[in-house]
Amino acid sequence: MSNKYIGQSVKRLEDKRFITGKGRYTDDIKLPGMTYASFVRSPYAHARVNRIDTSAAKDMPGVVAIFTGDDIASAGIVGVPTGWQVNFRNGDTMKEPPHPLLVPTGSTVKHIGDPVAVIIADSREAAFDASEAVEVDWEELPAVVSAYKATQEGAPQVHPDAPGNLAFDWEIGNPIDEVNEAIEQSAHVTTLEFVNQRLVPNAIEPRAYIGHYDEVSDKYTLYTSTQNPHLIRLLMCAFVLGIPEHKVRVLGPDVGGGFGSKIYHYTEEALVTWASKQIRRPIKWTETRSEAFMLDAHGRDHITKAEMGFDAEGNIKALRIKTYANLGAYLSTFAPAVPTYLHGTLLQGLYTTPKIHLDLYGVFTHTVAVDAYRGAGRPEATYLLERMLDLAALEMGKNPVQLRKQNFIPSFDGVEQPGYQTQVALQYDSGNYHGVLDRAVEMLGYDEFRQMQQEANQNGKLLGVGFSTYIEACGIAPSAVVGALGARAGLYESAQVRVQPTGKVSVFTGAHSHGQGHVTTFAQVVADKLGIAMEDIDIIHGDSDAVAFGMGTYGSRSLAVGGSAIVKSIDKVLEKGAKIAAHKLECSVDDLEYAEGKWTVKGTDKSISFGDVALTAYVPHVYPQGLEPGLDFSSFYDPANFTYPFGCHIAIVEVDKETGRVKLKRFIAVDDVGNVINPMIVDGQIHGGLAQGIGQALLEEAIYDENGQLTNGSYMDYAMPRADDLPSFELDRQVTPCPHNPLGVKGAGEAGCIGSTPAVVNAVIDALWSGGHKVKDIRMPLTSERVWRAMQEQNTQILHS
């Protein structure tokens, strides 16, 4: 162990190739004889496919093959499954209608872009041209896009066997009678009805897949822009195509961002893999940006009513919530888990609320699937809690900082003090919530701000401050726990540390980097643990043939779970290395200490380097009797608990009184993500997350019209946050190590996105109250017009359903 790299802002090793345009993404890969796919997609959100005529398309130049849903059905392929099962509260099985690769004739398409045929051609251009020549007889049917409306009587049905469009209904928390009673007895109840709007993930690299069946080896290769190659292989082989897993290699080369949207097994992946065997040629499909807007699983989309009861002193006594969660037309890989186990279980927040109940409806609609998007359920929980806290403070005339502090769970380190058991199933690992809030408020200067706000008001300006404190469950997850909660997979991680004969080290990880900088962070850990240089380490990921098995990257899990697996393997390397060293140094293992890349006999200058031990392991001429040669260990790490990062975010906004335009003036974020390996990378993660969270508050929303048409599926209409929308972020950090993993790390990938959204909305509401507009809610995104309209409603309470 040395301390040369851990804690240092080592520049990212992968950046040179990325910023010089030398990244190798799936679309950069060209195979001999490659063909290109283009899909015929539904222009309707809901329609019966009466007839598909491919005769004209078949004769177009360059066309190799055309497959329709009937071809897929006759091949016995039913569709892609979900990876999580959440049953109805009465025990009935979750409704899980099939999600076909292509919708067959006689059946119905269920969202815009639902495919009915695929054209495979010699060029992408030819495939596009031919796809326009396919004639489909559509019979348009009524559609429903709102999760609430879909549950109402008479609503169009998405699936015939899911009455009321329910996939499941679900509850968590204390018995509802107890919660009702606590609400009734409360001195003050803050009520809020709101929408947590639908977002498009917008990874910079659209999805791309290459399916390649090789006749000679009878093996398939799938190149895919994914976050988890092994999971894709497992789902595709075992549940979709029924092909032997050892005959499939899945490669995830450089991947340009995912934010959750590339976790899932998509129909196109299975389709190009299957079809490549039919035509005996490789098939590439690269999504267009328009398709990415339509088809990449969206995020959020909750309609919620929440009530929070307080006693006369402002102590939270109860929280009662009813939420309609839009799941889209088909259940995506993690979809059932997001509004339930990643949302309902976080409703304790940082507070000692004694009674909590969530009543949740998972609803099918004629929209694309909704699944985990950066934060996944936790932003929705945090938004709910933190909006309630700031609104309650305004309503009760209390200081929002004090209101939080009086309700905070006291500090606990998870070692001396036990973890905190919530009312909603989780046990927090360690926390110091006062610490992050105090530090952020210090950076803000609370009293100075309130004075500035008052002065601004006198000068005709509206300033506001919004607070948000959050906790999230990361490092997903203990397999036994998630298994009990309906997961169809374990959520451990694997790592192999292969010491080469010259002492260089190859590390194979099941985590998958698509922007996170694993190649750098993991190498920092390995270098320090082994006391060798980072240059002597290679991190290999994204190849199911090279890496034993892995569960991939999402839920801020890579370092907490994947990094811990690496540490386990390193421990095994050092344990065996010590035996070899002791033999060479003619001493006992107990006489040795390992530091700075060598074993030394304690109290002497006799030592042997890591490299010499490695060479001895592979050239075992002078070697301990009975010990196997080689220095190469694999480990699987299954975490003991989730990790629980937390933090405090504060936004300061100025609202233009005349136009309602919101200008974000300052943004303060104090995050506690446990130990930090590379501060620069963590800051980068926080920055990116903040931009996305602020984007949700002020700019972003996927807007379907009543007919299920996505009306803003381009960057001309869908507003993404840009540098000039954002202030220079003011960051600080607190470190409360995770007590249950060897690195003490908690995860930083989603924190920025989870804490920031309610802070911004709270700040705008605060600004409006300071101007006498006592508005409870403005629907996100807070467009200038919505804020302006809220200000027209002088001193009234606007409720949005």
């Binding site: 005349e658 700019l699 960057y715 507003a719 993404m720």
Partner: protein, 276 residues
């Protein structure tokens, strides 16, 4: 996405471009509106005539009491032009509000005027500055006042076979003040409302809007309310209240008709305050 197949030609001169320009051809300058339309297969020309590098379409010069901006001049070149900063500072400042750096370095003023996006920035400024658009066809050139050039939704006075060659703007008299105020659409950064105001030393004011209606327009209602008046707060308030009266109003996810009209009034007031 992938455009339909097309031919591509890069002529050396306007004459050569005019020879190639038939009803199956499209002129390509900066390409920031045309190329997305091609990729979405909304536009399917048989030939693209790339005029971005024709020397006679480039540059900004002063000539006979006019500032002449070549149609192929990029927004970034206008933004940096000392001649414009000196005589028509609104153009240099307004250019900086267009799109983003990539758009500004590729997109051209001529391309923007010809495309006539109802939310483009240049039309308001060119109308307010009383500019003329010079069009050239095979039979020679003609000049159209900017206020008459924009006819409707993506529709202009350009006839088939014509190319915009330059924009001519009178050099304003000493003491002229001008300002462009823009409320940008957060995604595209086009104008939800753009208001250009030029106030001449004789007290006359020209006001033009973009983004508000299906075509940019000169707002004579506001101008009349200002006629013969000192620009006091009350006068400005009263005149701005007449902004965009009687025009059909655009509406989208970011701004309803009602809000757009409100913004037109607010931004008109701000532009007038800037020149008061």
């Amino acid at each position: 996405m992938i455009p339909y197949a097309f031919d591509y030609t890069r002529p050396e001169s306007v004459e050569e471009a005019l020879d190639l320009l038939d009803d199956d051809a499209k002129l390509l300058a900066g390409g920031h509106s045309l190329v997305p339309a091609l990729k979405l297969r909304l536009s399917a020309p048989g030939r693209l005539i790339d005029i971005a590098r024709i020397p006679s379409l480039k540059g900004i010069r002063e000539e006979n009491g006019e500032i002449v901006i070549g149609a192929g001049t990029t927004h970034a070149e206008i933004m940096k032009s000392d001649l414009l900063k000196q005589h028509l500072p609104m153009f240099a400042e307004g250019a900086a509000l267009i799109g983003d750096p990539m758009v500004r370095h590729k997109g051209t003023i001529g391309g923007s005027l010809a495309h006539a996006d109802p939310s483009a920035d240049w039309p308001a400024m060119v109308i307010a500055a009383d500019g003329e658009v010079v069009l050239r066809g095979r039979n020679g050139s003609r000049s159209v006042a900017a206020a008459d050039f924009f006819i409707g939704f993506y529709s202009t006075a350009l006839e088939e076979g014509e190319i915009i060659t330059e924009i001519r703007l009178p050099v304003p008299a000493e003491g002229t003040r001008m300002n462009y105020q823009k409320f940008a659409q957060p995604a595209s950064r086009f104008a939800i409302v753009g208001c250009a105001v030029v106030r001449h030393p004789d007290g006359s004011v020209r006001v033009a809007f973009t983004g508000v209606s299906d075509a940019p327009f000169r707002d004579t209602g506001v101008e009349e309310a200002l006629s013969g008046q000192q620009l006091t707060d009350d006068v400005i308030e009263a005149a701005a209240a007449k902004a965009a009266e009687g025009v059909s109003l655009n509406s989208d996810h970011f701004a309803s008709e009602e809000y757009r009209q409100h913004l037109a009034r607010v931004y008109c007031k701000r532009a007038l305050n800037a020149v008061a």
